[in-house]
């Protein structure tokens, strides 16, 4: 985290320097380039890799607090046609037929380090931020849905119909693909994703969120101690979302 703060400070300095240079060179003309950065906000840094550990031993069958929180956070509502409704996170109940051992778990975009959705996107709309969060830039997305085909986790949704009354922090619209953003708008403010918060409030605390690159973080410590499974690890995507208790 201190690295991130450092990076933020550096950006602040660079922004200030750029603004000063712009003023000196041509006041008024390039003025706005400086202003856009004058507030010195932190950006995504590769010093950080955001991830989640989902402890399926704590996740309750029948609880969908995370799903409801996600829908509310991003203004996702049902069209009444569930087969085409957007779904950023879903609850799965899985059972090993051999042993009868059952789990309940939330499944969403796994924020792959080697994301197939990004590989196949013909426009560059699917991309991975420096901090490992995989997003769709809807300004560029042409709605071809290649990424939906490529994603091994069925994590992405296509918006088929015009939307209105979207939330200011969650732009969404017809003709583009979307998926879990790891609540990037919250993370950039130093908050935790809505699903994690809701799971905590529901009393299960099955979702741990944090910086995989920080050995002091709770997620890194728990992964070091308890281990974590990557779903379909054979695909070697090195996901940011890990599960505990799957085996």
């Amino acid at each position: 985290m201190s690295d991130q703060a450092h990076d933020g400070a550096r950006r602040k300095f660079l922004g200030t320097a750029a603004a000063a240079a712009a003023l000196a060179a041509a006041p008024g003309v390039f003025f706005w380039q400086g202003v856009a950065r004058a507030r010195g906000t932190d950006g995504a840094s590769s010093e950080v890799r955001w991830g989640m550990l989902i402890d399926t031993t704590q996740c309750a069958k029948g609880c969908d607090a995370c799903v409801r929180a996600c829908n509310e956070e991003h203004g996702i509502t049902s069209t009444g046609r569930p087969t085409t409704d957007a779904q950023w996170i879903r609850k799965l109940d899985v059972r090993d037929p051999a042993t009868g051992h059952a789990h309940s778990l939330p499944m969403m975009c796994q924020h792959c380090e080697q994301p197939p959705c990004v590989d196949v996107c013909p426009t560059g709309a699917s991309f991975k931020r420096a901090d490992g969060i995989v997003l769709v830039d809807k300004h560029i997305c042409i709605g071809c849905r290649y990424c939906m085909m490529a994603c091994p986790y069925h994590a992405r949704s296509f918006i088929h119909e015009p939307l209105q009354d979207q939330l200011p922090h969650a732009p969404r619209g017809k003709g583009t693909v979307e998926s879990c953003t790891m609540c990037v708008h919250r993370v950039d403010e130093g908050r935790v994703p809505a699903c994690k918060e809701a799971c905590q409030e529901a009393g299960y605390g099955a979702i741990v969120f944090g910086n995989l690159h920080d050995p002091e973080s709770e997620i890194a410590q728990r992964l070091a101690k308890e281990g974590g499974t990557k779903v379909r690890a054979d695909l070697r995507l090195n996901q940011g979302v890990r599960y505990r208790g799957l085996t």
Binding site: A19, P27, R37, R39, T41, G43, K138, L163, Q164, P168
Partner: protein, 159 residues
């Protein structure tokens, strides 16, 4: 994408000419811009009229790809200030010619697709508060002395 921007910029420039001509001759009904909540825009009116697409495009990529937030020229801030409830009703939508953006875009015949995805009205809780209460304008109280000075200098550079 480039040609789209060029069209908008040309459109806005053309609008400027039309506006100027119209004012001189008063033959055309000018758009009526609804009042904003704040005292002052982030830039002088002539700069905003000409450059608002540039401001928005510039920070768009920084925000989406770089995660750099809190810029002065954000679409959310434009909407928060310029789209206000009318006579105790909900604020207008972009499809309504009373909407701040629509009022001018309809006049100039420049169609934008921003609001297919972006909220065309402030979040419900926002329009019951004055702009000065908004977190981006207030900052989080951590602006350094150097930043304040910089902002003050930049403010002066327009005079």
């Amino acid at each position: 994408m480039k040609s789209w921007i060029t069209k908008i910029v040309i459109g806005v420039l053309a609008a400027g000419v039309v506006l100027a001509t119209a004012t001189a001759q008063s033959r055309v009904t000018l758009p009526e811009l609804p009042p904003a909540a704040g005292e002052e825009c982030v830039e002088p009116t002539d700069v905003m009229r000409r450059d608002h697409p540039k401001f928005l495009l510039h920070i768009r990529d920084e925000t989406v790809h770089g995660g750099i937030r809190g810029a002065r020229h954000s679409l959310v801030e434009c909407i928060d200030c310029h789209v206000q409830p009318v006579g105790g009703n909900e604020p207008p939508r972009y499809s309504d010619p009373q909407h701040f953006c629509a009022s001018c875009h309809v006049f100039t015949g420049v169609r934008v697709d921003c609001f297919q995805c972006h909220a065309d009205r402030p979040a419900r809780a926002t329009y019951f508060h004055k702009l000065s209460g908004h977190r981006h304008h207030m900052g989080d109280g951590t602006l350094s002395a150097a930043e304040l000075k910089l902002l003050a200098e930049q403010g002066e550079s327009h005079e």
